[in-house]
């Protein structure tokens, strides 16, 4: 077995693998190709006049490609994929919060836009409390 050099806390080793450099080069190529595809799609949206739905689809593909890139960087370059499963879970499980985080806040932004574009956020004038001077209307932006 090849001699290993790590801190004394490490009780067993799973790295480096014999094909480590090959794996790094392969990952580099994958990352570069994904980036080039992303750029191509970005330029495609600029060059071609697309309908809203198609544009959204292209953007969705770019987001998924970026997530794939992130997964490659974390699991190969940062070697998270080589760690103990429980260790991986302590990192990955908290990140599930992002599912709520992204949906809730983008939804909120969309709702804000709707309120601004309609008078849905305003009460009819007659329902305004009369006695309070400088009362701000709910939904007004000041």
């Amino acid at each position: 077995m090849e001699q290993q050099h790590t801190a004394s806390e490490i009780t067993f080793h799973h790295e480096p693998r014999p094909d480590n450099v090959k794996r790094i080069i392969r990952t580099t190529i994958i990352l570069s190709v994904i980036t080039i595809i992303e750029l191509g799609l970005g330029l495609l949206m600029y060059a071609v006049d697309m309908s809203g739905g198609l544009r959204l689809l292209v953007k969705g593909v770019i987001v998924i490609l970026s997530l794939a890139k992130a997964a490659y960087i974390v699991s190969i370059f940062m070697h998270l994929g080589d760690e103990i499963r429980n260790m991986i879970m302590t990192i990955v499980v908290p990140l599930l919060l992002f599912i709520w985080f992204i949906i809730a806040f983008l939804w909120d932004g969309g709702s804000w836009k709707t309120l601004k574009n309609t008078d849905a956020g305003h009460r009819p004038e007659t329902e305004q409390p009369a006695a309070v001077p400088d009362a701000k209307k709910p939904g007004s932006k000041e």
């Binding site: 290993q4 050099h5 790590t6 806390e9 580099t28 970005g42 970026s66 974390v74 370059f77």
Partner: protein, 289 residues
């Protein structure tokens, strides 16, 4: 290998490392996870504001300059260069860690140098990009007249394109200096002084309106988010370069050979890859979609 654990060594007070990881490395992971939430919060709040706007600037229009290419329209070209610089510096970092595993000091030093140079190159690119945005002069229709606006945290010149009679009216109200600058962009043969001497109407007549792109003011939040988030990322790159320089000096002094392992390079590497990882999402949110 099993006998490497001895009963009296109370790593973490529990007898052994639960995750078979060095304490510092595990804590680096948890720090990076918390940093993920910081960046995530920034990017998501940017998303909230963007979703609340009826109009948002097209990144292909905003980021279309390249150093030395003048006014050529090269959308995304420069930021692709920055992205590849960061990917490559991430690769050299992995290779430094790899040589660290094999106790190869020369290899570590070589790849740490390349990583540091990549980081510095990225920072220089960002400095150029910021300067270009902050000092740019873009024809913007403001209060019925044309002004030349940069991209700052208070001004955004990337609104909707204005066409037709609105521009002709705006030109009448535009200041003489601005008009001279607009004409000079198209007529390089004449000096500013010559143009200054001409009448307002004559200057307006000389303008080829097909080449002047006048836009309305865009959403102000764009600048704050762009400079705030790319600045915060740039600060991470900067601190990563500083950490890598410290690692390089320690490697030169043989500190890791004395310890018998190159774990510090691994921890610095984790931080450096995180910088690359964040850029994936900054690149996605600001430049691609």
């Amino acid at each position: 290998m099993a006998n490497a654990v001895q009963a009296e060594q109370k790593w973490w007070s529990g007898g052994k490392s639960p995750f078979n990881l060095e304490y510092g490395k595990l804590m680096m992971w948890y720090f990076l996870m918390s940093d993920t939430f910081t960046f995530g919060a920034f990017l998501i709040s940017y998303g909230t504001i963007r979703f609340s706007q009826n109009f948002w600037p097209d990144p292909n229009v905003v980021f279309n300059a390249f150093p030395g290419a003048g006014h050529a329209n090269l959308p995304l070209a420069f930021v692709s260069l920055m992205t590849f610089i960061l990917i490559i510096s991430s690769v050299t970092m992995v290779l430094a860690v790899h040589h660290g595993h094999h106790m190869n000091r020369k290899g570590v030093i070589k790849y740490m140098w390349l990583t540091i140079l990549g980081g510095l190159a990225f920072l220089l690119c960002q400095a150029w990009e910021w300067t270009h945005l902050l000092t740019g002069e873009h024809a913007t229709l403001v209060n019925g007249k044309i002004e030349l606006w940069p991209q700052t945290v208070t001004k955004n010149p990337w609104g909707a394109l204005v066409e037709g009679p609105a521009i002709a009216d705006a030109l009448k109200n535009t200041s003489h200096d601005t008009l001279v600058k607009l004409v000079h962009e198209q007529q390089h043969a004449m000096t500013h002084e010559q143009l200054h001497a001409m009448s307002h109407e004559k200057l307006a007549g000389m303008l080829d309106m097909g080449k002047v792109h006048v836009r309305t003011a865009g959403p102000i939040a764009f600048g704050g988010y762009f400079f705030g988030i790319t600045g915060f990322h740039g600060f991470h790159v900067f601190s990563g370069v500083v950490i890598n320089v410290v690692m390089l000096i320690m490697a030169y002094r043989g500190a890791f050979d004395q310890r018998g392992h190159y774990m510090m390079i691994e921890k610095a590497g984790l931080y450096w890859h995180f910088v690359d990882l964040v850029w994936v999402f900054v690149f996605l949110c600001f430049y691609l979609i």
